[in-house]
């Protein structure tokens, strides 16, 4: 009972209105029993009043139990929970800091409005408490309150109090304040927590003293800071580097993230080399931790070596698998070994791979075999050695090893055409053991591709043909193409008969549209012009490279900025998996697609078009892409709707930019409803941010198929708005959505004719037809930040313009309720207030704005406060813009 005594020392002894001492232990035991029942899931809410009655005790043990109970049941008994408020408020002023903290902590966990109201005053006191334990609890409590009622936090000035705590002398308090601010910032679209160089210094100082967890909070918050120049970056890195020595892996990884981010700014190669050297040992040490942490470390290292392979170039041995590594660790190690394999270490690596290929775990073996193939594709000088290892493995005759080897050898053939065909004979020996579609398809592709060198190619193919109708689509497609190839290469009688059978099977007796379409294309080609067919089917194929599991550069950038977070483990951008509860609920129900069989395959034709030109990846990608690549006839699939060709072809500026999606404000208007877009819904609006115009877009895929390859094009319009870069939308899985900010440029392709607000947009993706929709150009996004005019300037300009340039319009529906509010609102949109005067009961406001191309607009607003209808008169050199301008004003004033 030592603890209890300590806790109650400071308490005035006689305040307790509780029961006599002998009952106390009984009470405690009773409440313990209630809690026990609660934790196993029994509903004990009926005892609410009785339990709450025990709350007024100086026994901390009992108090904590009651609080635990309250947190669980207050929500279901909000009216009774009020009973507890008095005690809470009293406890928050208790002389014992533990009780003060406990009261605030618990109140924050009770999400009942009436209790929240009473929380503010105690919280305010506790944020300024003398005891650091209370302050640190209170700072987290602000985050709790923000989650319940954000407005309250802002109104009561808790944010400022929290910011003050960053300068607190206790590092624990600082860390919690940082954590709370970071969370609030994440859920708010307004800038709340911005790290200045001043806070940076404070936080870096606190970093050395706080707990390991606090260090992670601070490092993560600081990773959002952009250093001004290389020198500052070097300074930051210098302060953070000692964290690499920490025993806590989370601290190490967060420090690595910080250093990697700042390294981008550091120009001195010496410093960068030095940093790389410093980071290697701690990263390797992470692999001595528990397997779970190893996994996280490996996923992160995978990203790091893609950007900075030198860091771990000499450490490949630490990634060799131990026999007792869990499978998820082994798989990741393998992946990194492939990435680090080089001409220097390939012999060692191959020895390891060969060892793995004879392990017992089938999945691991398969991956090891593929790894050998990927090394062959990656390292030209080692290809021969890789192939000889593969051949050795094939000789073992373990079924799945052979199949896997054949799949990778096919990729090797594509990479090094006409080099290693001598091994085909060995491959053919294993022909009848193949039972997996991918392996079969690969073998058939090899036979078709090299039909002229395989004497009995027709016999080999024929053996597959018997079971044609039963084969999976993947194999059927390959059989079809291989037979056509065979026929074109050896137009003898045997193949001719075969092709009849295949074409018949593939056109008449199948319900797979891809197979059918491809068969018809071949058929027509062969019947009209066999020479053309030869050109198409036997065309030279582009050489492939090993790009499997290689991330898109922009995605890699984003992931590297998210090192040490879940995103870096999943290798997905955060917005792909972070779903707040509120948005998750809105997920639309699956819409039944009218033709199920159609949609199942619908990504294939698109791939066929693209993959003919794009290098096929070698492995680990969905079969469709790889297997389609070779035989896809590029010509017939090419026609794309003409209009799109015209639109997309206009400037052809299609290069990826990384524009991280920013938190959106109010919901965007729907421009393309899902009903029109076959399940694709687009919401969009023009916005201005930091002096630049963006097209803020939200894509929602309500269809049944993943959509990718999004592109956008704007038709000519009055202000010549066009995309400054290509549309950056990741592949959208069914049910997923993505937001993007598309940077815009103006005055690119100005349409002639009278000004119009019409903005015609075309959006296309790889799976669907081109969608066209109309949006409105709002002139206000063009108003420049530097549009403020001096009074004298204003008068002069006003006078210098002829009266014919003055245009006025009555904005009927607009009401000015308060001049100040209106002025503020207009100023936020870069319409600047110059002067005002009163004319009778009317208010007259003079404002200015700078429209596109720096043309000033002088504005006079006349209206009566509180009464609808405002007269807006403008004077400008460019009066033809007036209608657009009025529309913008009306929108702004509403």
């Amino acid at each position: 009972m030592a603890g209890t005594k300590r806790g109650s020392e400071n308490l005035p002894c006689e305040v307790s209105p509780g029961p006599p001492i002998e009952y106390k232990d009984k009470r405690k035991d009773a409440v313990k029993k209630v809690i026990a029942a609660m934790t196993v899931g029994k509903d004990v809410s009926s005892l609410f009043t009785d339990v709450v009655n025990c709350m007024q005790t100086e026994n901390l043990e009992l108090k904590k139990l009651v609080y635990l109970y309250l947190i669980n049941y207050a929500k279901s008994q909000p009216d009774l929970a009020i009973l507890a408020v008095n005690t809470f408020v009293k406890d928050s002023q208790d002389p014992n800091p533990l009780i003060r903290a406990l009261a605030v902590r618990t109140m924050g966990c009770i999400r009942v409005d009436k209790i929240t109201e009473y929380l503010c005053d105690p919280l305010q006191r506790c944020l300024k408490d003398d005891d650091p334990y209370v302050r640190k609890t209170a700072s987290i409590c602000v985050a709790k309150l923000y989650d319940i009622n954000a407005e309250l936090v802002e109104d009561r000035g808790f944010l400022d109090a929290l910011k003050d705590l960053i300068s607190d002398n206790n590092p624990m308090v600082v860390a919690n304040a940082v954590a709370a601010l970071a969370e609030i910032q994440e859920n708010s679209s307004r800038p709340i927590f911005e790290i200045t160089s001043n806070t940076l210094t404070k936080l870096l100082t606190a970093l050395n003293e706080c707990t390991e967890w606090g260090q992670v909070f601070i490092l993560d918050a600081l990773s959002k800071y952009k250093a001004a120049d290389a020198r500052e970056a070097e300074n930051i890195v210098e302060r953070v580097t000692p964290r690499l020595q920490h025993a806590n892996c989370a601290v190490v990884l967060s420090a690595v993230k910080m250093i990697l981010l700042q390294m981008e700014l550091i120009t001195s190669t010496d410093v960068v080399r030095n940093l790389c050297k410093k980071m290697a040992p701690p990263l390797v040490t992470l692999l001595s931790a528990e397997p779970e942490i190893q996994y996280v470390a490996l996923r992160n290292i995978n990203l790091i070596v893609q950007r900075r392979p030198t860091i771990l170039a000499h450490e490949i041995k630490v990634f060799f698998c131990k026999y007792n590594d869990p499978i998820y660790v082994k798989m990741e190690k393998l992946e990194i070994m492939i990435k680090l394999a080089s001409d220097r270490n390939i012999d060692q690596v191959l020895l390891e791979f060969k060892e793995y290929a004879t392990e017992v775990d089938v999945d691991f073996v398969r991956k090891a075999v593929r790894a050998i193939g990927r090394c062959a594709i990656k390292l030209e000088r080692a290809a021969e050695r890789c192939i000889s290892v593969l051949l050795e493995l094939i000789k073992i005759k373990v079924n799945y090893v052979v199949q896997e080897a054949i799949i990778v050898i096919k990729d090797i053939f594509r990479r090094y055409p006409n080099t290693y065909e001598s091994i085909i004979a060995t491959l053919c020996e294993s022909l009848d053991t193949l039972d997996e579609p991918e392996a079969k398809a690969s073998m058939i592709w090899i036979i078709g591709e090299y039909a002229e060198r395989i004497d009995n190619a027709d016999e080999l193919l024929e053996s597959f043909l018997e079971s044609f109708p039963e084969e999976p689509a993947l194999v059927q497609l390959q059989l079809l193409t291989a037979t056509v190839k065979l026929f074109l290469k050896k137009p003898t009688e045997g193949p001719q008969q075969m092709i009849q059978v295949v074409l018949n099977n593939a056109t008449v007796e199948t319900d797979n549209p891809d197979l059918r379409d491809r068969a018809y294309i071949y058929w027509r080609l062969l019947s009209t012009d066999p020479e053309a067919a030869k050109d198409v089917v036997l065309a030279e194929k582009p050489v492939i490279s090993d790009d499997s599991n290689q991330l898109d550069p922009s995605l890699l950038d984003e992931l590297l900025a998210n090192i040490a977070t879940l995103a870096s483990v999943y290798h997905k951008p955060p917005d792909a998996f972070v779903t707040r509860v509120k948005t998750a609920v809105q997920r639309p129900d699956d819409e039944e697609y009218p033709d199920g069989s159609e949609s199942g395959y619908s990504d294939m034709p698109a791939n066929a078009v693209d993959s003919a030109a794009a290098p096929s990846s070698s492995s680990n990608v969905p079969h469709a892409a790889t297997r389609q690549a070779a035989p896809a006839p590029p010509a017939p699939a090419a026609p794309v709707p003409d209009l799109l060709g015209d639109l997309i072809g206009l400037d052809g500026a299609i290069v990826p930019v990384d524009q991280p999606a920013t938190p959106s404000g109010p919901p965007l208007p729907i421009v393309l409803p899902a009903s029109t877009g076959q399940g694709l819904q687009i919401c969009a609006q023009l916005t201005r941010r930091d002096g630049q115009i963006f097209y803020s877009m939200l894509f929602e895929n309500n269809s049944q198929i993943p959509l990718d390859g999004f592109m956008i094009q704007f038709n000519k319009n009055t202000l010549g708005l066009a995309a400054a870069g290509p549309l950056q939308v990741p592949q959208l899985q069914p049910g997923a959505s993505a937001t993007t900010l598309l940077p815009m440029v103006s005055f690119q392709n100005i349409s002639p004719g009278p000004p119009s607000t019409l903005l015609q947009v075309a959006v296309k993706n790889n799976q669907q037809p081109v969608w066209y929709f109309n949006d409105k150009i709002s002139l206000q996004v063009f108003f420049a930040e530097d549009g403020r005019m001096e009074r004298a300037d204003f008068l002069e300009t006003w006078k210098s313009l002829p009266d014919s340039n003055e245009i006025a319009k009555d904005l009927q529906s607009v009401v000015i309720n308060s001049v100040d509010v209106t002025v503020d609102r207009l100023a936020a949109s870069n319409v600047f207030f110059i002067a005002k005067r009163k004319n009778m009961n009317q208010e007259v406001l003079y404002l200015s704005a700078k429209a596109p191309r720096g043309i000033p607009f002088l504005i006079e607003l006349t209206g009566v406060v509180g009464i609808a209808g405002v007269k807006c008169a403008i004077k400008t050199r460019n009066p033809e813009m007036a209608p657009l301008f009025f529309e913008a004003m009306e929108a702004l004033l509403k």
């Binding site: 904590k64 635990l68 989370a250 779970e292 879940l566 998996f577």
Partner: protein
């Protein structure tokens, strides 16, 4: 941040469940368990420690047969969560003495009290047993330590299980001895995991030591402790490949590739005389972790020979030779040999004269030969060359002496500082080695 924390038993029973933010549905424990139990990814059947299901991220670790799980909806630092889960397990063990389903259930009130202090609104606050002591008021209910899981081979092979022998350490750090007298004790363990790969001809291909100095203190009055390491200790290799043995610096020097320290360790004198100063906090913690790939003499040599004896049979001859000073003995050695899944029968015998009887004492300087681990198979698809990938020899020693198998632990001494109130009554050293041998 963390939304919920829960502990599940191996059967999926909810032992502890605490919701911190109320943003993840209540049934998450069940969803999690089903996912893990029936995991089927493209890469193996083991669920990775971090995965996402329906927008909820599940992060879990296995400790002492229990699943410690945290859920979250936001993009947190997974290593933070994993570390935290490990620490929570350690703190609970510090308090309860024993960590198992039974002790958790008996002490659920204490566990909830701990959880409230360790995590607030999903943010880890403190995981130091020392700091927690001033906020925790419940007392642990002792659980019979007799039913400890045996220190069997299975436990030893689990990575990260760096446990100490004996029953002394199953005592809670907060509970007092009967009679009110506290024992003035400190336990310092040096635990090294040695991984060595031998080629089929007996050469060492790779060797690596992962070591940790663990401390568990029961001293009162928080005396300052000094830990002196070898003075010629060098940290970090300069350039050159880690595995380049030829260039290893002057004979005798111990070179650590990398090391890190517990936050309570003061390194003021470390550069000068390699002394660590610390005031040990309550509970078990690792003072220092280190990693080295410097060439060292492995305490065992493993040699494996595989012969095909008939079409469905193979014979494995495994030679293990203890290579350390005769004054040292190794106990509880077990050999672990993975076999193909389709092995139907295994029998083994010892060469006459071999002293090994499963888990007896192993004395140095003699070669012991297991002959003929005979395996029989269903089918003949198994070939010799890829058979015995790994054999595993494990040595566990708790004799009170320092196991002199690698230099840097030779000279480690624990020096109680003068202001220590109590005396040190038992310093225990343990060394744990795991071998990994690959005939190639």
């Amino acid at each position: 941040m963390i939304s919920q924390f829960f502990v599940l038993s191996q059967r999926g029973d909810n032992i502890v469940f605490r919701d911190y933010r109320g943003e993840v549905q209540k049934g998450s424990a069940e969803i999690f368990f089903r996912k893990v139990k029936f995991w089927k990814g493209d890469e193996g059947e083991d669920a990775p420690p971090v995965f996402n299901a329906d927008g909820v991220n599940y992060v879990h670790v296995k400790v002492a047969g229990l699943l410690f799980v945290a859920t979250t909806r936001v993009n947190v630092s997974p290593s933070l969560v994993l570390e935290l889960l490990q620490r929570i397990a350690r703190v609970i063990k510090d308090y309860l003495g024993v960590l198992n389903e039974d002790s958790l259930r008996k002490n659920f009130v204490l566990v909830y009290e701990l959880l409230d202090e360790v995590i607030d609104f999903g943010y880890p606050q403190t995981t130091s047993t020392e700091v927690l002591k001033s906020y925790i008021f419940n007392e642990p209910i002792e659980v019979e330590a007799a039913r400890l899981p045996p220190l069997g081979p299975a436990a030893m092979f689990m990575q990260g299980t760096k446990r100490m022998p004996g029953t002394a350490v199953t005592k809670s750090v907060v509970a007092n001895e009967p009679g009110g007298r506290k024992r003035e004790e400190i336990f310092v363990d040096i635990i090294e995991k040695i991984s060595v790969t031998f080629s089929s001809s007996g050469y060492i291909l790779t060797s690596e030591i992962d070591g940790t100095i663990q401390m568990k203190s029961y001293l009162t009055g928080n005396p300052e402790i000094r830990l002196a390491l070898n003075e010629d200790l060098i940290i970090g290799r300069n350039g050159s490949s880690v595995y380049d043995y030829r260039n290893s610096a002057g004979a005798g020097a111990v070179i650590l590739d990398d090391c890190n320290f517990h936050e309570s360790v003061h390194l003021d004198n470390f550069d000068l005389d390699r002394t660590l100063m610390l005031v040990p906090t309550d509970g078990e913690f690792s003072v220092m972790n280190y990693r080295m790939t410097q060439e060292f003499k492995p305490p065992f040599r493993v040699n494996a020979l595989i012969e095909e004896a008939g079409s469905l049979k193979a014979e494995v001859i495994l030679k293990i030779r203890a290579d350390f000073a005769p004054s040292i003995t190794a106990n509880t050695i077990s050999v672990h040999m993975p076999l193909p899944k389709y092995t139907t029968r295994v029998s083994f015998e010892f060469e006459p004269g071999a002293i090994v009887g499963g888990s007896e004492t192993y004395s140095a300087g003699k070669a012991h030969i297991f002959t003929g681990v005979t395996c029989q198979y269903h089918e003949r698809s198994w070939t010799c060359e890829h058979d015995l990938h790994n054999s595993n020899v494990q040595c566990f020693k708790a004799s009170g002496k320092v196991l002199a198998n690698s230099k840097e632990i030779q000279d480690i001494q624990s020096i109680p500082s003068t202001n220590a109130k109590g005396s040190l009554s038992g310093i225990q050293m343990a060394s744990q080695n795991t071998y990994d041998s690959k005939p190639m």
